[in-house]
């Protein structure tokens, strides 16, 4: 009996280790590749371990490739998307949670339908609209386009959190003479701060990762985001592979780090939003 149990235990451990290895390997491989000299990348046997003596690669790429500009543009787009999404989502989330009104179902359905629209489909009409609004070739335009895709998700996640705030808290503030907007901003929002943080991270991610709009709605080199810059290197071997992988890693790590820092809240926010439907 006992030995069977240990067998099972060992197998389970092996499965967990394999799972983690599979999940981490591509990121690890990006690191190893970035730290391997070009000649060795094309050798018959691959280097399996990172060579940290070549760490200056990560400094060099900033001189060879406009990585700093790319990252700055991505950061602006991501931050703008995050701020605008949250600003737009708070009141509708509160409304969906607290009010019964005609058209509530339609609003909920509309928010869901936006999740089905591919960016690639809307990019042509958006291009025309942005042309009229003088938003083409601006980072503001990218923020506006991205927010249209994030704000429905953020609204839904915040609504889930506000559902969990007891109405008594609001009634107490109401008796103290606060207006409803005051109540939402100073009473309800602080109580859902962790979910707000999660929503912010999700919107930031979307802006950081977005590719289609950044590729089509912006044409200036100086406004290129990291996703577009990096996309130019996919499957191409004329730029040194180790430099490209170094840029890829520099682009990936902030997203992964942010996610890991906020992980507890993101997971709680995502699952609350999705499990409740």
């Amino acid at each position: 009996m006992r030995s069977t149990f240990n067998w099972g235990h060992g197998l389970r451990l092996l499965a967990i280790v394999s799972l983690l290895a599979a999940a981490a390997f591509p990121i690890y491989w990006m690191l190893v590749t970035s730290l391997t000299p070009s000649a060795d990348l094309f050798a018959d046997t691959p280097h399996m371990l990172p060579d940290f003596s070549r760490i200056e690669v990560f400094e060099e790429v900033f001189r060879e490739i406009p990585v700093a500009t790319w990252l700055a543009n991505s950061a602006i787009v991501a931050t703008g998307t995050m701020v605008l999404s949250i600003a737009l989502a708070i009141l509708p989330a509160y409304t969906l949670s607290r009010f019964r009104f005609r058209g509530k179902g339609a609003l909920g359905f509309t928010l869901f339908v936006t999740q089905m629209l591919p960016e690639a489909m809307l990019v042509v009409p958006l291009y025309a609209i942005f042309g009229q609004l003088a938003l083409l070739d601006t980072l503001t335009g990218l923020i506006l386009a991205n927010t249209a895709f994030t704000v429905p998700v953020i609204t839904w996640i915040l609504k889930g959190a506000i559902d969990g705030v007891p109405i008594d808290v609001e009634e107490a503030a109401r008796i103290d003479g606060c207006s409803r907007i005051d109540i939402v901003l100073s009473v309800v929002i602080p109580l859902v701060a962790p979910t707000l943080a999660a929503a912010g991270v999700i919107a930031f991610f979307h802006g950081w990762n977005e590719y289609v709009f950044a590729q089509t709605l912006v044409s200036s080199q100086s406004l290129q985001t990291a996703s577009v810059g990096l996309a130019g290197f996919v499957g191409e071997l004329s730029t040194p592979v180790h430099s490209v992988m170094a840029v890829g890693l520099i682009y990936t790590l902030p997203a992964v780090a942010l996610y890991l820092v906020a992980q507890r809240y993101v997971v709680a926010g995502m699952t609350a939003g999705s499990v409740k439907g």
């Binding site: 999940a23 591509p26 590749t33 019964r100 009409p125 704000v151 996919v234």
Partner: protein, 305 residues
Amino acid sequence: MTESAPRNGRLEGSRWTPYIYIAPISLYLLLFQGYPLIQELMLSFTSTSLLSPQDSEYVGIRNYQDLIDASDFHATIVVTVVYTIACVVLSIGLGLAAALLLDRPFLGRGVARAAVTIPWAAPSVAVALIFTWMFNAQYGIFNHALRALGFASGHENWLDHPALALPAILLTTVWQIFPFASVVLLAALQGVSSELREAAVIDGADRLSVFKAVVWPTIQPSVALLSLFITIWSLRRFDLIWLMTQGGPIGATNTLVIELYRQGFVYRELGFAAAVGMIGLTIALVVTLVYFHISARAERAGGRR
């Protein structure tokens, strides 16, 4: 004291208050989603070139007819359906396996749970970059591994091989999205009653029976919802596929969204592209309505708590 509070404890307010609160988001979505969508729908009934969009010509349903008649388009639908179903099944299967493994306590579980979600946080463009390199015919680690294991050729050109490209894209996609499934299912597993589970074990049920009788009924609604989300995401996934294969070779990975983009930006046929988009959207809507229909029926039948 609370005489002004309406039923079910809601705060008082003018009947217009909710509409004022949802006005900004409604206008925003109308301008940046609704209006473009209507434009796109109208475009799908025209012949319009990207080069001179003002010379748009109304052609009725001809774009749709041409699509329905084209055997290439049938292949696109098949690829889309295969890709979507495989994404759903494989991501949820792997996600469930991961969730079950990470559900029971062990040393370092917190770290393991965090680590397993890393792929989901990686940007698609970066994922396309590293996987394209890993799939490289001569220097990719997958072929290195195949050679090390003694496979004869070990020089498979994964992304440029009609039979291997779709599996390679699937592997990449599943790697990226299974963590989402595992996170959602891990949360769902917290709802499994430990008393019921223990009772089943005392009754002598083996692991599989416990899973079927106790675990599955609890997580089933989450699995259904995940299927819906992953279906919708798979129908609209663009970056990964476009950057890795552009739908090729010979259409092996050509999903609807890739076809839409190619029609619009390579062949510059905006009307045709719009028609492809509308067909994709219809499929997504039908799947969603079927899902809501089934889950509403399950709820009425008391199958869902």
